[in-house]
């Protein structure tokens, strides 16, 4: 088939549909004007994301975008316009619209936490009214209420408590969305790809809560502007920095301390924020039994910086960066360090009151080093192992607010990825050698357009189309494999030579049908593609990540997901509830053959086995945002299976993160302005594992004979955590605010199985035993936080 011809006809077809849809609206000849502007926090000038602007007279409205910008086009007239945001005081203004207006407003935080926000009018931003489904949004204030391991507030641990999101292993930073793998989540920090979100083997994530403003997670209905990962998008936005006055925020915890400073560069024009964290996990090592461990180092640190400046009311620039490092060393034996670095430069430009452009340049890097100390170990031997993955991105994202019934988004993106899977240099016993795997480079492009359209007062749709193109680019070395996955030939490609293209359309569709003021039905479909994936077959978040891209041997992963949901709110939106059902089919799922060697293996592609997988589930959520008692209860039933011809004799098997039942209860009770108690409880079915049925002896080892892949289960997991927060006197009125947080992780001291190992009893010959590995039993901690 002529691909180009196919491509062209597809483009025409989709764009034709697109323009037909947009033109399907009331043609009105009356004069129209546009209100546009930015909404910010009155206290610190931070842009408010997702704040609501509604017209009281008509059931019309809009929400601010990720930069706090909004635009609404209406017929000439006099309107009462309400600007509101949860937790903030609503502003109502009468506006005589007889020319285009720019209205920039600052909203004030409600003085009391417990004040119920009264929502009036017909248009609200609740989960019932909004187009979003399969999406969760957490404000950092909510995340901070959740009791955390060692008192370390953690963005990723918080999202693991949401319906449809799972984790395996105690305290891991990996998460699994609707049957997708941990590497199928697009994790963005100020639009930069974060390749490894873990500190200290995943017990903590790389996001400093004091530097984070907003967290959005898309599990389905993924908007067209996002591409490159199959299962979810976790979009994390850093704070911009205080535009009004100098502010310091920080905390001293059991194993980590942090400090954030932010101040205006020029009042109400620009601001700067710098946040740092230093962990001292090695504080307890002197208690360790072995001498080696007593002198070991183990810690992490990270820093976030961000600056932004309003050049004028049409142009604003942002520069943000993250740098984090984990360090582990044993005196004169070895050292290891790893971490991410990202940098993002953005420019918001308002072409007109209807057209908003954000241009972004992103740099992202993840690397690790492992080896002997500089200058060699105690024997004078040297060994270093280096690996990294680097990304350069450029993006142009437009928002076009055509009219109140149509908001169009379109844009283009291009990325250059460079993966250096590993280079080892060693000099052991005078033997010097270097082993290195060839680098792989690739380009990834995306072009998209989408429209959120209100067809009638009851029916709206969000439809879009993305085209993604992936290209392997030389210099490159590609092995050819025979049908037994043995390398038989090598192909070399010159610098700049494009030797493989993969492209495909990704339609995205969301539908919303409003049943009544407090309930709606939604449905969505999305196709996603993924070209870069992680080779990992361990449970823990190992820092030794092996990323590999699509290539002539490995096709891109593709997923089709359909979901339907029923959303209804009770007691004036005090209680939000939702039920969602989904089915997802994934193609070109990658798994690994038995005994696969993933590290430093130049024939890695020969270890892959490729097939399909599918997942389905039902998610139930009840959420209470207001009042003394707040929190949520979520239950998920889900399954995920893989069918790979060369694995498990081609018989379907559950993925190792398959956990049918998942329950999370997250609650917080505010006694008064100073004291609050939070409690959470999680329960899930033990994950699917492979266990032995028989055994035999060979050359002194008792070797297990296993059942089918993942045919058995670990014991069920459950845990309860509590925390109590005590704020300083007159919190909220004094400039210096302080807070003590006492927390207990795993309150009832349960030993949850991380893995079960089968091994010989060292004391009794011929006897074998099952040994359960568990990580944290009860962990109490104290944290002191301050802000001034």
């Amino acid at each position: 088939m002529d691909n180009r011809f196919y491509f062209k006809t597809m483009i025409y077809k989709y764009f034709f549909i697109f323009f037909i849809l947009i033109s399907f609206q009331n043609i009105s000849f009356s004069q129209k004007y546009t209100i546009s502007g930015n909404l910010t926090d009155a206290n610190n000038g931070e842009a408010l994301i997702g704040a609501t602007i509604k017209i009281i007279e008509e059931s019309k409205g809009t929400v601010t975008n990720l930069y706090g910008f909004y635009s609404l086009t209406l017929e000439k007239g006099i309107y009462n316009v309400e600007f509101s945001y949860i937790g903030y005081e609503t502003i109502r203004q009468e506006i005589a619209l007889n020319n285009d207006l720019r209205i920039d407003l600052e909203l004030k935080e409600s003085s009391k936490v417990m004040t119920e926000v009264v929502v009036e009018g017909k248009y609200s931003s609740t989960n019932v009214e909004s187009m979003d489904m399969s999406k969760d949004e957490l404000k950092i204030e909510q995340i901070k209420k959740i009791p955390a391991l060692m008192g370390e507030i953690d963005v990723i641990k918080a999202i693991q408590l949401l319906p449809g999101v799972q984790t395996i292993g105690e305290g891991g930073s990996g998460f699994f969305v609707r049957g997708g793998g941990a590497d199928q989540n697009l994790i963005l920090l100020d639009e930069a790809n974060v390749y490894n979100a873990s500190h200290l083997m995943g017990f903590f994530s790389v996001f400093n809560p004091d530097a984070v403003k907003n967290v959005e997670l898309y599990k389905g209905g993924i908007p067209a502007q996002y591409g490159g990962r199959l299962s979810s998008v976790l979009d994390i936005r850093m704070k911009d920095g205080n535009m009004k006055k100098f502010e310091a925020e920080g905390g001293i915890g059991t194993i980590t301390s942090r400090l954030t400073l932010s101040f205006p560069i020029k009042k109400d024009k620009g601001s700067f924020m710098i946040a740092g964290r230093r962990n001292y996990a090695d504080i307890f090592l002197p208690l360790a039994p072995s001498q080696d461990l007593k002198t070991a180092q183990l810690y992490f640190y990270d820093a976030n910086i961000k600056g932004n400046y309003n050049i004028n009311d049409k142009n604003r620039i942002f520069l943000s960066g993250y740098f984090g490092r984990d360090v582990f060393s044993l005196a004169n034996q070895f050292r290891m360090n790893w971490g991410n670095g990202t940098g993002t430069l953005r420019w918001n430009h308002i072409f007109s009151n209807k057209l908003f452009l954000n241009s972004t340049i992103v740099y992202s890097n993840y690397d690790y080093l492992l080896g002997t100390p500089q200058g060699g170990d105690e024997n004078g031997d040297t060994f270093t192992w280096l690996s990294n993955i680097k990304d350069y991105y450029i993006k142009e994202d437009f928002n076009y607010y055509l009219n109140p019934n149509n908001s169009i988004k379109f844009g283009i993106q291009s990325a250059y990825h460079s993966i250096s899977p590993g280079r080892i240099e060693f000099n052991v016993d005078g033997l010097e050698n270097e082993i290195s795997n060839p680098n792989t480079n690739s380009l990834e492009h995306g072009i998209y357009v989408s429209n959120e359209q209100k067809f009638t007062t009851r029916f709206s749709a969000l439809y879009g189309l993305r085209y993604s193109l992936f290209q392997n680019i030389g210099e490159g070395k590609v092995y050819e494999y025979d049908s037994d996955f043995n390398p038989v030939d090598t192909n070399f490609y010159g610098k700049g030579e494009i030797y493989q293209n993969y492209g495909g359309f990704e339609p995205r569709l969301g539908l919303k049908f409003t049943l009544n003021e407090s309930s709606s039905l939604k449905a969505s479909y999305n196709r996603t593609q993924q070209f870069i994936q992680l080779a990992s077959n361990t449970t823990a978040s190992s820092p030794l990540d092996v990323w590999f891209s699509s290539s002539p041997n490995v096709g891109p992963q593709r997923a089709d997901q359909v979901a339907i949901g029923y959303f209804s709110n009770y007691l004036k939106d005090t209680l939000e509830t939702s039920v969602e059902l989904y089915y997802k089919k994934m193609y070109n799922t990658v798994d690994f053959k038995d005994h696969a060697q993933l590290l430093l293996n130049q024939y890695l592609e020969g270890e892959l086995r490729i097939g399909n997988s599918y997942s389905y589930g039902a998610e139930f959520l009840i959420k209470k945002n207001k009042g003394k008692l707040s929190g949520w209860l979520s239950y998920t039933y889900s399954r995920v299976f893989r069918i790979i011809p060369e694995i498990n004799d081609g018989i379907k098997y559950p993925a190792n993160y398959d956990q049918p039942h998942n329950l999370s209860v997250v609650t917080s009770y505010a006694f008064n302005d100073r004291m609050s108690l939070s409690l959470n409880f999680v329960y899930n079915t033990g994950r699917a594992v492979t266990m032995p049925v028989g055994r035999y002896s060979y050359m002194g080892s008792i070797i297990p004979i296993y059942s089918r892949r993942n045919a058995e289960r670990l014991p069920d997991y459950h845990r309860m955590d509590v925390s109590f927060s005590l704020k300083g006197k007159n919190y909220g009125t004094k400039r210096f605010r302080s807070e003590w947080v006492f927390s207990i992780y795993n309150l009832y001291n349960r030993a949850n199985a991380y893995t079960i190992n089968f091994k010989e009893n060292p004391d009794v010959p011929n006897e074998t035993q099952a040994e359960m590995l568990y990580l944290f039993k009860i962990v109490p901690s104290i944290t002191y936080n301050f802000k001034f």
Binding site: M201, F383, H595, M699, T768, L773, F776
Partner: protein
Amino acid sequence: MKKILFISLILITLGSCTKIIELDLNDDENLKVVVDAQFSTFPTAHEIKLTQTANYFSGDAPLYLSGAIVTITDGINVYPFNEVAPGIYQTLPNVAAIPERNYTLNITHDGKTFTAQNYCDSVPELDSLVVEPFIKPGETEIDHYKIKISTQEKPGFGDYYAWKIYVNGTLKTDTITELNSTDDAFFPDGFYFNLFELTRRDDLNSGDTVMVAQHAISKETYDTYFAILMQTAFRGSIFDTPPANVPTNLSEGAVGLFTVTGEARRTVIVP
């Protein structure tokens, strides 16, 4: 590789605890024949052990299988094995494999025939073997002995070696965990091992006879040894590879391994 394993061991000790638990496992409905067959180019009475698999928590010593008919052939010669003790089968003395030939093992037991193939690779000679006492600085007692060898690694890549150590005629490295083995990819092509430290032992005495047997093993043997280690001795960390059955070259559902190796030996008296 050793370093990496060492690191993961350290990481486990940092943040984890273990506990022995009671667990109900499914029984293996069909017990299998286990073959431990080693044949080499060194002239001796070669031995094959036949046992049976058991349920995982059985706790009993392996059951030896008697009454099997066992032969090895290179297509030209046939080497019969005779049962010398229950489940232990031996060739006549001074039987040796001829390098660079394919060998087939045939076992008939209880009406079923199991076969396996392995290629016998040639092995370089051991040019020298030295056992050197090591005394820690400032001390007078011998801490351990270093066993060093000199040998010419074969040109090209894709060669695999294993070394067995005998002391006073007794095999000391009779288990997979004690066996030294390597892939020549870790060394430059055609590397000359010049008094290369193979291992250290602290159980030697002056006057002991130390013998090193250098084996050229096949890739499948090396991979199987590695898989056994990853599935047994190197388990227990949060970075474990997923459980998987250890590969076998035996047919018809039997497990274990048939290895044919080029073998070169050298002996030295501990000074």
